[in-house]
Assembly symmetry: D2
Homo-oligomer: 399 residues x 4
């Protein structure tokens, strides 16, 4: 089923689903309980909605950065008060041993009340030394332990070496759909997410760490997008979206949140979004901090104003330089890009961030979880209809 066909079908009020590309992102959940029948999901571009002007990478995903892999472990069990809808998503920053070959990185905390461990080290050292783990709030401790166990197993010398590593584990609060206090995530789940990590297309929506997340009043979760920039570099974003109010949601500037009818669920305070940017452009830490700030600007374009309760935490890393930990050269060779060539990367960041968040929404299916709470997947037919009304698809679709 092609995009235009889908749009056409939704517009005439007779949604048809033949599977195909729309299901590609969520096959692994087919056996799971708790999903609504509204499982026609797709990525934003499959609806005919393009964000920005730059070309995407081959997979329009953070994995377009050579060597970056993403793995999910999705945990869906039970119903009622003990329903578990949670998981772990891991980003492997490169194909090698990240503890031995560090990457430059930077953190920007747009708003507090959220956890990203490892930051007290990363901000000062300018380095990423671990995979990045995304999970539910109550799982941070166990994921942290597992991450350290994983790194130790890979690097037996670590125990006698200094400095030690501080794993980057970030969280959002998934209690609306998941019985968070039961902490069903185990170290083995973390290892499984690591084993599942792969290049290529990335599953989005209600998977991995995003399984129980809600965002902008709809089902949220994992989303990703990428852009190609001059010089042949790529910039990719992966988000775990659990933030935003429905009435603020914008798509490419269209106030879509306040136009959608129905699908209201029990009001809850949404909380936090974790945003990770990766690029193969060889940026230095201070430049990655600039990228991280532009991620905030991309978030802003979705309508978020980063409310008090939201932990809006941003990490950016570059695969363009690998800094060896053990084979220490006094004068390593560093590749770099002049600041005056950064602007296309900023544009790429703003565009890909916005699209990654929207991909999380359009990809995430309706899920019913703890206490029967239901978070609805954003209704794609209405999305198409509203975007057409506001002049974004339809006539302009032939551009």
């Amino acid at each position: 089923m092609k995009r235009r066909d889908f749009i056409k079908s939704t517009l005439i009020g007779v949604p048809v689903l033949s599977g195909g590309s729309f299901l590609a992102n969520n096959q692994t959940e087919s056996q799971e309980v708790g999903f609504s029948t509204d499982d026609r999901r797709c990525r934003l571009r499959e609806l005919g909605i393009k964000i920005g002007a730059l070309e995407t990478g081959p997979h329009n995903a953070i994995t377009d950065i050579q060597g970056v892999k993403v793995g999910h472990r999705t945990i869906v069990k039970g119903e009622g008060p003990e329903a578990v809808r949670t998981g772990v998503t891991v980003i492997l920053p490169h194909e090698g041993n990240i503890w031995e070959e560090n990457l430059f990185a930077a953190f920007f905390g747009l708003n507090g009340w959220g956890e990203m461990t490892g930051i007290s080290s990363l901000e000062k050292s300018g380095r990423l030394e671990t995979p990045v783990f995304l999970t539910g709030t109550y799982n941070v401790g166990i994921v942290y332990s597992a991450a350290l166990k994983y790194l130790t197993a890979l690097n037996p010398q670590m125990e006698n070496a200094a400095p030690l590593v501080s794993p980057v584990v970030a969280e959002c609060f998934d209690d609306f759909l998941s019985d968070t206090k039961s902490r069903q995530v185990s170290e083995e789940d973390v290892f499984e997410a690591l084993r599942q990590a792969k290049s290529g297309p990335v599953e989005e929506g209600a998977v991995g760490g995003g399984t129980g997340m809600t965002s902008f009043g709809f089902k949220g979760g994992i989303g990703t997008s990428s852009r190609k920039v001059p010089g042949g570099f790529y910039l990719g974003i992966l988000v775990m979206a659990n933030t935003g109010s429905r009435d603020h949601l914008r798509m490419d500037g269209v106030p879509i949140g306040r136009e959608i009818r129905g699908y209201q669920y029990r009001t809850e305070k949404t909380k936090s979004i974790i945003l990770v940017a990766a690029t193969d452009a060889p940026l230095l830490p201070y430049q990655l901090h600039k990228i991280a700030k532009r991620v905030a600007l991309g978030l802003a374009q979705t309508g978020s104003y980063s409310h008090t309760e939201s932990g809006d935490l941003i990490l950016a890393f570059s695969t363009g330089n690998k800094i060896l930990r053990n084979d220490r050269h006094p004068l390593p060779s560093i590749r770099a890009i002049d600041d005056f060539f950064l602007s296309p990367l900023y544009q790429a960041t703003v565009e890909a961030t916005q699209e990654a968040i929207l991909n999380a929404l359009t990809s995430a299916r309706t899920i019913t979880g703890r206490n029967g709470n239901t978070a609805y997947g954003i209704p794609l037919d209405q999305v198409v209809e509203i975007m057409k009304k506001y002049g974004r698809i339809g006539d302009r679709i032939h551009e």
Copy 2:
């Protein structure tokens, strides 16, 4: 001439101007040279375009914060290579003696390559101790000197007191329209801006420090807006806009920049925007830093991604507490607002920032300056037409 009439007239292609409210903002320039005949200007709301959901203050201006005054000194002289189109805008933070009664303040530097003096002090002390001065790049030194002279004259005791004050002087680069190297701004000009400072409606566009500024490919300059928030507080923004590319410009999400036809001028790199937020909500410095970050989110909604060359510098202050310098109490009484009540202020900040920037554009007339360079006022008839095409005014105007 009422808003609807104006809109109507533009839509039928017969712009009519009877003056009135549209001229209210730029009377002082009537004798000046170098303006185009396209002098129908107005504020964004007069075009029927509303940003966001919150109510504005009485003047939709930073002066809605009780005690805040704005003064302009506009300097327009000569033509050709020696044309001067520059000036000074001053914000008086309260009605008293700001050196004796400081205000809590915070700074957020979204992007470098711009100057805001006084920041090395303000960031650490959490205090604003001076008026805020906005001017062209080459005038910073003389304005700094004049500011210190002004403060010394008001506070003879200052010379024997410590700590000294560091005036806040911020700049954008107005060389496209103005012969910057001639530095036509004098200390007397600064004093005149101070004398002109007043409450109530604020002149916008090509006035004061904004006289020579361009933004988003059109004539830019000074803009302001405000919002009322629960609790009876106000939040106001004043910007000096000299940043942004035309093809990125958005109004309420509409990609208006790439839809406007004509009015292209010689390509130039635009540079910098200074944004000042004021509120009477009694915020502490760390909370004002949060406000300053939301100003960046508002800037993002205009389509800016804060390119490398842009000095995007943000100051936020609160009139809610006055900290006496000379009559030092060991335990001053501090009013405060809990963080959990900040979110409406964030929303107000994002909305007012966007609207202030757009007000600068819609208010600024076409100006021809140095070497015959012309920066066009954004064509209001096209603005209305495009916003209607994108479903923002017209049918929805009756909401």
Copy 3:
């Protein structure tokens, strides 16, 4: 045995130990294995060495801040490759429920390569919402989990509330003395440290999180000190010291590290120090950030220059204002101190930080741990002798 007697005895080369006050700090370890016979330990002042000019609090400890409690769980097991010398130290910030009644707080990361979780939230929110946990590197995950379990048990409403809490767990790397990979710390150990938390004198040296730490080439660990400042306020410091090179160690400016003879142990890279400042002076977050910076200045006076591998992480909190989480007032009453009264607190911070670090050294006994590695308690007789040689005790002791 009085201080003078001790000094006298050490100076004549006939150390005598009758126990008493010198043992007061480490009674709980008397049953433990692995200690040398050099167990005459005492606090710095008991040696006749005073740091700075300000008066200490009653206990010369962080617990001099009303409501602050400290609890240790010390774990000493086995010998050889599997020797465990680790533990957990907890600081309860006030007597109530810290999740319901938050305190203003600030973080300053002097140097990276160390972990303090919860910082991405605390830095932005300006609040401490949890006890502070200090432990060995490999225990962070389990302590984090236990901390969240503890807070959830105390606050059943937490699971339905937002924002969630991010526990503050900080670490140093104790692998020289402890088989870190075995992770012998359990959630129960964390709960036990919480149960043990008490006011009054604080055990120092090889206790709790400090059990396996080494510092400045000697046995390190937990140390504390406090100062009284004008206005009747107190400022206290507690450190977990695992940093510094022996040849840089200074006491009150005396280069004592390079004067001490013997007691060399296998060279190792020392790693990290966690420093926590508490005060009952009602400081705002930006002021606590200033205090945290002064902690770094106090660390500098011990001779540290914060080397690359050291995670030198600083937390400061004030008990002077309690910010209620659940009974939200829109306009809470905030007590504050004018910046111009902060200088005595800065002096107190620098003095108490230096003394806390030195207390960790003089209090910590020789310990033999993993693989027979021995970290020697700094030899107190030599300390006294050297300080006398440099004119700090002896003639000047009668001042």
Copy 4:
């Protein structure tokens, strides 16, 4: 006169002065008014006092970094209420055109209430684009203007280029000795300081921007020092010292301030110190930020705790990479040093900072200025006597 002779002469109470090296630093002032007869001055090492363990550079000055030049313009005029004792010191960061060839740089604001302009740009861009100017508070505006005029004259293309430069002008408050409000500094004085800039030995004490400064209760001003580090790199510090209380002053840990007798002057609040670090080690901006923090640690070792009123502002730059502004390469070649090789640079920074501050004191002669106010040069005979008493020189001098 050799160091040992000087020490000997001071110790036997018969100060002898034959000129020579002691005068080398202040020849240009010989014609000036207002100096006391106590003009035996020298650098710290000439008194036999060594700070730290690392070797100094050839001149023990910031000019040991290849290409760095320092120029002073000292202004001493009149007596009584109109006495002027002020000036300008300029640091040229390299031998070329700093606007065309930028250097990586970083800023650390230890404490507020001081001005360093250009920081809002430098902090974000990571670049130094201008000479560094040090002067009295009231001169900032005129020096800023002159700096921009200088840069424009050197770079005619600047006016058409973006981004513009923001000169780095830093100040301390010299009102105790100088009639600050008369602002006797002219643009020509700034140009003269630039013309005087040279390599080799640097004049210290009451020269240039330091002419009217006081520090730790004595005459302060300009001081410098350097260290050689492994790899053949140098690190140099230059300070303009106007901060610190006499009773806190330490030299190599000795509490010398409270031991010195006499030479008390009218109590005043001292205010601010500007500290500039330079190195030819090719450090990146985030690494230079680390260096800047270590400057604070060096300041701490002089006994300062950075009191509220003090503007303690730190700049660090590296000549190891030159980033071309106009001939922009998309992928410049960047030299770098691994973090694990930074520790010697940290040690160098702490040592050189301490020594630079002390050099300012020992080099600065007694000066009488405004209203007959006198700031005494620290009495060198007492310094030697006290350092001997505390075991730092004398017996240990032969080491």
